[in-house]
Amino acid sequence: MTADSKPAEAVAVVDGQTVDKLPADLYIPPDALVVFLETFEGPLDLLLYLIRRRNLDLLELSVADITDQYMSYIDLMIELKLDLAGEYLVMAATLAEIKSRLLLPRQEDAEEEDDPRMALIERLQEYERIKSAAHQIGDLPRMDRDIFPLSPERPERVREQAHPQVDLREVLAALVDVMRRSEAFLHHAVRQEPLSVRDRMANVLAVLDQAKEFVPFTELFKPEEGRAGVVVTFLAITELLREGMADLTQSEPFAPIYLRAASEPVST
């Protein structure tokens, strides 16, 4: 926009129509012009505006014309001391470069060469797509403006601690593990023979008497006897303890447990 008073100079012929676009801007109060220029979202936006304003097809972009107009807007922005972002100047340089390349005499073998405008046109197209998509998104019905969710009064909350959820597979996995730990299960899982707690009490007592000192609790069990054997031994031990025929010691929680025969058997 080379300044005032030269409206005739900028007359353009667009699609056979004579259009004089310069004066309009010139008669805008400077404040409005600042607002106007500030609404551009960058050089592509400005460029798109310049092209669209002339109702031109992007593909028929006349770089020479548009470059001139673009530069005049840049001048205007500088004049109005607008915060001119570097991107605008980069675009100016790009335009100037394309323009100069188009002005260079074409070499014959360069006919297949890419149109220097293409990269710019592609960028403009993509930007235009996104710009219009932004419009569309802005127009979508949205919460707070068009969509209001219901919010009736909620009932008073019932404090109820939920029960943990358990999957049957977890139970089975637990079973697998506990059975594995109880070695008895592995070797002779099903063979059962009658075992008497009384008999076992006698056996255990015999072991303790023979040892005459503390015997580790675990040594009293014979895994090869199977689960039932373990149970019977355990019952026998508890019975011996209950009847005061054996003593049990453990130095601290989780420490090994030891047994020995009671020093003074309590008479019944």
Partner: protein, 223 residues
């Protein structure tokens, strides 16, 4: 502009306003939503009251009700539904310990068993807490006493257990020999990782559970 709203539209707007407001609305506040052309200034209040009466009736038998409180009318979710609604904000329930699951498994597969039975298999004491939790959950019950010194309680699993795990009867439990087979297979290959995992945390291992599920066809409990 001068066309008065018909009763249906008026009721819809009153309903929507009460539902969306998030606070009670007085008849005056409701009336202020309309432009003079839409609702007659004098009759308008009466018409709004009529709408409110209708809305109150229509809410019968629904999940919410229309309630009049000091500052106006509001819709509220029925208090009777609170047990379910509260679950929307319930924290994730804790997980059961490994010890509890093992105890449960032993009771289910070896019922009836005493506490001592469980302890002898697990090799460690069973805390009273675990038994209490299982009893409270309704998964186990005392089915009798063993005729042995101390007459210890015998525990068995309940119908509640079957219901929870979506089983018809205890026969629907995967047979133990299949579980056992699987254990032995696994032992050959998996002992190490499992042992490591066990020491890492006491939680049920999904790995084992999934491996098991491949062999044993299970009814799905929860999705």
């Amino acid at each position: 502009m001068n066309e008065q709203l018909d009763a249906a539209q008026l009721k819809r707007i009153v309903e929507a306003a009460l539902m969306a407001a998030g606070e009670p609305l007085s008849v005056n506040r409701l009336a202020a939503l309309f432009r003079p052309g839409e609702l007659h200034p004098q009759e308008g209040r009466k018409r709004i009251r009529d709408s409110l009466a209708h809305l109150g009736e229509e809410a019968e038998g629904r999940g919410y009700e229309l309630k009049q409180v000091a500052s106006g009318y509001r819709f509220q979710v029925r208090q009777a539904l609170s047990p379910w609604i509260s679950r929307l904000w319930e924290e994730k329930p804790p997980r059961y310990s490994r010890a509890l699951l093992e105890t449960l498994a032993l009771i289910v597969y070896r019922q009836p068993v005493t506490r001592a039975d469980i302890e002898s298999v697990r090799g460690v004491a069973v805390s009273q807490n675990i038994l209490r939790t299982l009893l409270e959950r309704g998964w186990i019950r005392v089915v009798g006493q063993r005729e042995s010194p101390g007459r210890p309680n015998l525990y068995g699993a309940t119908r509640g257990f079957l219901d929870y795990f979506n089983l018809q009867s205890f026969d629907d439990l995967p047979p133990l020999d299949k579980v056992q087979q699987k254990i032995e297979q696994e032992l050959k290959q998996l002992t190490k990782p499992v042992m490591e995992a066990e020491s890492a945390d006491g939680e049920a291992q999904p790995g084992t559970a999934e491996a098991l599920a491949e062999v044993v066809q299970l009814p799905t409990t929860r999705d």
